[in-house]
Structures are given as structure tokens and as C-alpha cells.
Subunit: 292 residues, 4 copies
């Protein structure tokens, strides 16, 4: 199978490298020539334009946002030059509305489209330890399932409409942000009451909350180590916006999601966009009159 | 050591039984004669009044609330009849302000006082699988540490002021309620978007959220099994009130805690006080126009 | 001066009629032929297409939303057929981002553009009792000031960038929605405490709150007369979305605006989109377990 | 009629002076000897203890809080020394729960009790321009109606249970705080968008919001003049706490009230307790990254 790949950022590079390991031919394009060179060394063919990468059986894309996809033309213009039978597997975290629009645009051009976003950071992408979701036409998913299963340790089909995978991904990120917010508020309360949050998190992550999400972020919060960012607050803010957009469209009031969103927003205004998104905890502390 | 025990509810009975196993003499009182009889069969001596139970080296108490403790007189009146050198180990989930008041009242009467609340439900209390916290004068904690360590699988000293253990406990319950609220909002969003929350929770609890708090409550939420209650919503509402009271006193704004509190409040108004406190998820669903 | 007019809904019809009274020639277009006929009887010339209305010195438009303007092509396509020197006065309540986009699109085509939204309902539009704001290039505003001043009882220039007038309008609607939310919550609290909200509102609107916003809406709320709608909840929901979109773009956390938005959202999910937007008060009541 | 008066703070002094003008004999006590001397000069008899002031037909009291009333003993101890037939008119802003407790304590001692809180600041108290509410047994209210009507420009009977007047007062303060919060958020949004909030408030208070609450506070907010305080933020915070306590007891979820409360709380943590309560607007600005 000939596979096109568009978008070789921190996530995309790792994923493309793991696709190469499945033995398929990969033609890759990225805005960054360095990233293309790097994947070329691992066996991929470089594509000089997105259109070149498009000439394949299956196109994987991993771009940063709705806007980045529109810029490349994957919302329509580029699709006109796609070969018959192309299946586009979009792994990006995009809005539910845009996923629906993409599905429609591909259908209009007679192309296949599934959404297949992932949970996991760049190191998990490189190590094929992602959690991979997929939604769309079952037969299309089956076509690429063998590849998707190789990209992570967990694979789940979550719906037959592509945008459902995006909703799934958005809801997952909301869960993490909510956990961070809870840890941040608890830490601020405890600190002002003279209790060490480190002891608190030790007790909790040794029992009811013995899960990676709490182990990872409680350490950052107790140690106030918001730099370097594992996941930038500006990206968390973007995702919180996607959650509220989906909630608005589906008519589901989510007060906790609104609190999380507003706190990201206040953190952006404070200039913390480049810090780790767990800086929600820093905000809780500053609000309580603590130094940080 | 002669040990008095006041409060043989679902939690207290299990704890008292485990104290008996440490070999100490236990004199127990409860408002419920049946509970006293039951513990008598396990080897305790029955106390006809709280005052009788008070004639000991150490008094353990496990009552339902600030109000229940005042009713028995443990905030003052009863203390006048306590023997010299008595140490009171209070395991109840009470307010931070009341814990401080209790510490003061005991000091005034020359008595020892430590707070030692626990995490865990009645079955964990019976099986000695609780998480036990303690705060107060270190020497007093050491006096009862051998007993406290036998009541659970985890024991942590969290501060040298008794009320700090209560703050710790309150913060812990806030963490659980926040996790429930997040699961509830995510489930409502997914359901309205046509995605099965069960699949969502399977994926999450198989990875980042692989912790008891999420495993237990996601199952209840996905299955909408809010009855019988493992922990009644009315009690969750009480604890959410303790969180906000502590936050107010310590001057720490907790927007997520306010959302959780308001949602418990709305659930109370809906008459759901006897349902499991994970009915926060039911509220999120009803708000979204789903049946429940 | 030859004036084009696009959009003859409830608001537009009244405004167009008042422009006619200034003695200028008016060429009007609307999606609804009935509306065009009606304004023709008052002296306007009918335009068979938007493009015909565009052939003027000044174009006024009053369409329902960003989407309605895009549909007509005022975001670009239609502008290509505009005469040199045209000044577009946009009176619609649109998003800040779209206003900025429109300003750019007009500049690109060498056309003038100012935003001039209004406060007031259809009856105020017909009676020339609106409050009219304007923002944009001062010289352009001066060109149409004599007309704008005739459309209402109050006229204010609020900035030199068109989108500032839209921000102003959005903030004004947020003020009204906030007042409604406050009245609704107060009424629910009082009712559950056995106090008549009517007495409460009488006292308040006789003193500190003796203003039209409170007089109008407190009467609706105390009487629970949410039908027929003076301003539909679905439109309030749209405007609440514009507020949050502007807040997000400008990085200003607005917790009250989020509460109002979420309550509109919940009301939409309840199927109340056609009720008056003061149904926020109905939601507060239902939440409290009151019948409505 | 012989009238006792307890509590000669900024509000009480003005009210006591106006009661003197009704021709009744007034015996006044205050913790501050200076305040007693001042009212003595206006014709009152000084009381050396609260008990002396209590020997009257009617006792008016105007103390700062639940705690201040307990300190004086008006919740019980002092009542034992009250003359038969005494009617206590309590004008303080106290909690609903405490008002209920007071009504019970007075009934137990065979004394009359009505709540009669007021709207208005010290200057309005001195000028007899208050809004006066009353709730309780109708015959008791009628006994003092002639006096109460002389204390302000508006008098309203709002219920037959004393605590209903307190709920009414609390709801009124919530309305003002909500209006301030709305103005503060709108001002922050506009400022970040480059629009002068002064122009905005001019337009609004010239129309839909032409009411004292908006005229007074918009001027403070637009001018950022939070000192000297007309009403201290610490008091607003106290009242916001009373609102949430009443809401909790009556089971009415009030999300806007929670936002207002949390913002007062954050302002307290910032050390702004002595600023005017309209500093809620300062908080909105600081959150947006504006200087203040």
C-alpha cells in the first residue's frame, strides 16, 4: 500500500516512523524541510508539495489545528487533485464541526475519510505507545486497522461518524484538564492551611487516584515545575475551546468545562501560554494569594 | 490500654472491631443499642452512656457530623467529666473550624486531641483497608500510632494541628467529587454526540485514568446505577459544604469546588439526596435534555 | 444621496422607513418579497437582487448574523460589484472577529465600512427611539451621522475601528442578560423562602434599580410570562456566544458571562429557544425544584 | 413609647436620631462611648449596659453581624432580663438561619421579634432616606410601623416570618453585587478591546440602565476610584456568604451568586477587604492582564 503523510511535527514524525516499520511505502510532506529530511533518512520518500503526498492509497495527516488544515487545502482545494479511492486518515485534534465538514468535503470528491486522533505525547508517538481511536465508515476503518494498531498499545473504534472520534478525543482532554484543575485547587487549599500538597498527592496516588494522569501532574504541581512544558498551556486552551464549541453545538451545558476554559483564558492573559498546561494549578495558587 | 469508643455506625463498627483485634480493652457506646450489642459480641464492653465510654486512656469517636458531636457533648460539656490524661482521637469528617474549636476545648480541659479521619467505605473499614490520616501533637499521635496503623493499609501523619487532617480529608473528598463531575459532563457530551460513554471510560481507565476512583464511578455512571448508594449524595453535599467553608475561612477561591457544590445543591432540590453521589452525572445528563 | 438597504426584517424595516423620512432615495432588498413590497409603499425603490441595492452612495445592511451576511456575499463576493466610493454601514449584531474581517474585505475592495449596531427592539426601531452606536474611520462616520442620528434618541461614536461598535453592542447585551440572570436567581431564592418576588421587584425598581431593564424584565419574571417572546432565547444564546468569542479572542476571563452562556445553553437543550430570553429565570426556578 | 436602642455605628446613629425626631423617649447603648455621647446630645438617654437599654416597650438593634449580636447576648442570655411585652425590632443584616433562631429565642422568653433590615448607606440613614423592610407577626409590625415609616422613603412589609425580611435584604444585596460584577466584566472586556468604558456606561445609564445602582457604581468603576470605600468589600463578602448560606439551606442553586462570592473571596485573598466592594471590577481587570 502506498501511504502519503502530511504533517511531520513532534507527533507526526513519530507516527510516520512507525508506519514505515509496517513495511508500507511512505511519501511524506511537511512545512519544515528538516522534518522531511529526517523521515527520508528513515526510509520515506520526500514529497515536494502536499499534492505529491496525496498521490497514494491512503493519506495520513497530523496537522496542528483546523486552521493548519485549511491552509494546506485539505478542507477542499487540495482534494480536487486526489486520486480516486483515496482514504484520508486524519489524526489531528480538530473541532467536531470541522471534522463533519471534512467528512462532507471528502464525500463530495468521492474520497474516503476517517478521524483517528490519539492520546499520548511525542515520546509515546515515537515509542508506538499511543492510544489510538478511530471513527467513520467501518469498512474504511478496517482498511487501515492493521496500521493503526501498530501505532499504539490500545486501539478503539468509537463510532461510525468520523467526528465522533474527535468528540472522544476532546472529551478525553477535558478529563485531564479537569483532573489538573482539581489538583490545583486542592493544592492551593492545603498550602494555605499549612498542609504539604506533596503528602496529599502521595496518599491519593497511592490509592484511589493511582493513575498516570494523577502521578504525572501531581508531581509537577507539588514541585511547581511548569517549565519546560510537556504540553503547552496555549494548546490546552485551544482544546478547551474545542470542548466548549462541541458542547455548544450539541447543546450540553458543561459548567466544569467552562471553569477550566476560563482559567486557561486567564492564564493566557497572564502570559503563561508557553508553560505546561498544569499551570492551572499556578493560577489557583496565585488567586489564593500564594506566591505561585 | 483502655479504649473508649463513641459512634458505632457503619464506619465506626468496623473500626471498633479492628481495634478489638489489637488486644486492647474497648468500652463502646452508640445511640443505637443494636450496634452496641453487636460489638459486645465481638468482645467489647457496652457503655450505657457516652460518659462511661469516656473513662479510658484513649477515646476514639466516629460520629456523623459537627452537629452529632455537639449533641453528645464532645465539644465541651462531656469533656468536664473526662479523666486526666485522656487522649481523644476523632475520626469523623468534620469541618476545619469545628476541629479547631474541639482542639481548643480539649486543651482547656487538659485533654489530648488529635484528628484522624479516614478514606474508605464501610467495607474497607471492616476489612482494615482504610487510608488513615492523623494530625496533632506528634507525641499524642505516637501514642496511638500502633492502633491507627492496624485500621488500614496506609497511614500518614499530615500536620501538627488537628484540623489539618480534616482539611486533608475534605480536600480528598473534593478530588473524588471533581472526578465524578468530570466523568458526568464527559458522558453527557458523548451521549449527545452519539458516542457510548462505556467505550470512553474503558479506554481511559485502561490508560491515563487507570485508578479505582475512575474505575468505580465510571461503571456506575455508564450503567446509570445510582441506587443503592455507596455514598449518599446528601453526604457528598455535606462534604462539599465543608470544602467551601474551609475555602472561605482560608481565603482560597475554588471555582471547581463551587460548581460541584452547586450541582449537589441542585440534586438535593431534585430530591436525589438518597442516591449515590455520582448522581452528579445524572444531573449533567438531565441538563443536556437526556432522559437521565 | 442614494442609499441601498439590505435586510428588511423586524428591525430593518423600521430603520429603512426612518431613513426614507430623511428624504434620501432608498433602494431596498430583502429575502422576503413581502417586506420589499411593504417598504416600496412607503417610498423606497425595490431591488430585485442585493447587487442592485449595492449601486448606491451608502449601503445600510441589517442582517441576522455572520452566516446571513456570508450568504448574501457581503463578506467578499458581492463587494466586487460595488461602485467606487461606496460606504457600507452595517447595523447587524455580528461577532467582533467577523466585523474585523468585513472591515478588511471592504478595504481590499477600496470600499468604506463602519459598524453601527443598535440597542432597541423592533418597536423602538419603527419609532426612531433606538440607541445607535458607530465605530470606524471618523470621516466615514461623519458622512452618515445626520442619518444615524435620525434613527434613535441617542447616538454615540464609540471607537475608530468598526469592530469596537460590535464589542460595545455585545457588552450591552451581556449587561442585560446578566441583569436577567440576577433577577431570576433572586426570584427563585425568594420564592423558596416564601417571599413574593413581585414585592421584591417593586421595592427594588422603586429605588436602586429604577431602570427600564429591571422594570421590563422583573414584570415578565414575577408573572412568569415568557411567551410571546420580546427577544427570543435562541437569539440571546447567539449573543452570549458572541460575548464568549470576543472574550476568548481578547483574552478576558468572564465568569459571569460563562454562567449566563451555560444557562442559555441548558435552556436551549430544554427546548426553550422560542421563549423570551428572560426564561433564564424559569431555569433558575426549575433548578430549585419549583414548578417553573 | 419608651424605646431602647442597641448599636450606634454609622447606620444605627442615623436611625436612632430619626427615631428621636418621632418624639419617643430613646435609651441608647453602644460599645463605643463616643457614639453614646453623640446621641445623648441629640436627646437620647445613655444606657450604661445593653440591659439598661432593654428596659423599654420596643428595642431597636442595629449590630454588625450574627457574631456581634451573640456577643451582646441578644440570642438568649440578655433576653432573660427583658421586660414583659418587649418587642425587639432587629434592623441588622444577619443570616436567615440566625433570624429564625432569634425569633425562636424571643418567643421562648415571651417577647416579640420582627426583622426590619434596610437598604441604604449611612448618609441615607441620617437623612431618613432608607428603604425599610419588615417581616414578622403583622400586629407587631403595626405597633412600630409609624416609626419605621419615618426612617426612610419607602416601607414594605415582606412576610409574616421575621427571617423573610432578612432573605429579602440578602437578595437585594446580591442584586447589587451582581450588577457590579456585570459592569466589571464588561469594562474589562471593553478596555481590552480599546473601547472606553466611560462611554459605554454613559450610553447605558442614559437608557436601559438609568438607575442609581448603575450610575453610582459605573462611575467608580470607570474612574477606578475604589477608595475610600462607600461599602467595604469585606462586608460585601460577608453578605455574599449570607446569600450562599440561605441558598444552601433553601436548596436553591445560584451559580451567579457563587461566582460573585468566589470573586469576593479572591479579592479578600488579594488584601482588598478595605476597598469598596465594587473592586470586583478591579479583579476582572487584573484577571484580564490590565494594570487594575
Amino acid at each position: 500500500m502506498k501511504i502519503g503523510f502530511i504533517g511531520l511535527g513532534a507527533m507526526g514524525s513519530g507516527i510516520a516512523a512507525n508506519i514505515l516499520k509496517t513495511g508500507h511505502e511512505v511519501v511524506a510532506w511537511s512545512r519544515s524541510p528538516g522534518a522531511v529530511e529526517a523521515i527520508e533518512k528513515r526510509g520515506a520518500k520526500p514529497a515536494s508539495t502536499p499534492e505529491v503526498a496525496l498521490q497514494a492509497d491512503v493519506l495520513f495527516s497530523m496537522l496542528a489545528s483546523d486552521a493548519a488544515m485549511r491552509e494546506v487545502g485539505l478542507d477542499g482545494p487540495l482534494l480536487e487533485r486526489a486520486p480516486r479511492g483515496l482514504l484520508h486518515v486524519n489524526m489531528a485534534t480538530i473541532s467536531v464541526a470541522f471534522a463533519r465538514e471534512l467528512a462532507g468535503a471528502h464525500a463530495k470528491h468521492g474520497l474516503g475519510y476517517i478521524s483517528s486522533p490519539v492520546f499520548g505525547r511525542p515520546d509515546a508517538a515515537a515509542a508506538a505507545k499511543l492510544t489510538v481511536m478511530a471513527a467513520g465508515e467501518p469498512r474504511e476503518i478496517e482498511r487501515v486497522r492493521p496500521i493503526l494498531e501498530k501505532l499504539g498499545v490500545r486501539f478503539a473504534v468509537v463510532g461510525d461518524k468520523p467526528e465522533q472520534a474527535n468528540l472522544f478525543k476532546i472529551a478525553g482532554n477535558f478529563m485531564i484538564a479537569s483532573a489538573i484543575e482539581a489538583m490545583g485547587e486542592a493544592a492551593a487549599l492545603l498550602r494555605k492551611g499549612g498542609v504539604d500538597p506533596g503528602v496529599f498527592f502521595d496518599v491519593l496516588t497511592g490509592g484511589l487516584f493511582a493513575a498516570p494522569a494523577y502521578l504525572i501532574y501531581s508531581k509537577i504541581i507539588a514541585g511547581k515545575k511548569y517549565e519546560p512544558a510537556g504540553f503547552k498551556l496555549a494548546l490546552g486552551f485551544k482544546d478547551a475551546g474545542l470542548t466548549l464549541a462541541a458542547a455548544r453545538e450539541l447543546e450540553v451545558a458543561l459548567p466544569l468545562a467552562s471553569v477550566v476554559h476560563d482559567n486557561f483564558l486567564e492564564s493566557m492573559a497572564a502570559g503563561w501560554g508557553e508553560l505546561d498546561w498544569s499551570s492551572l494549578a499556578k493560577l489557583a495558587a496565585v488567586r489564593a494569594g500564594l506566591d505561585d
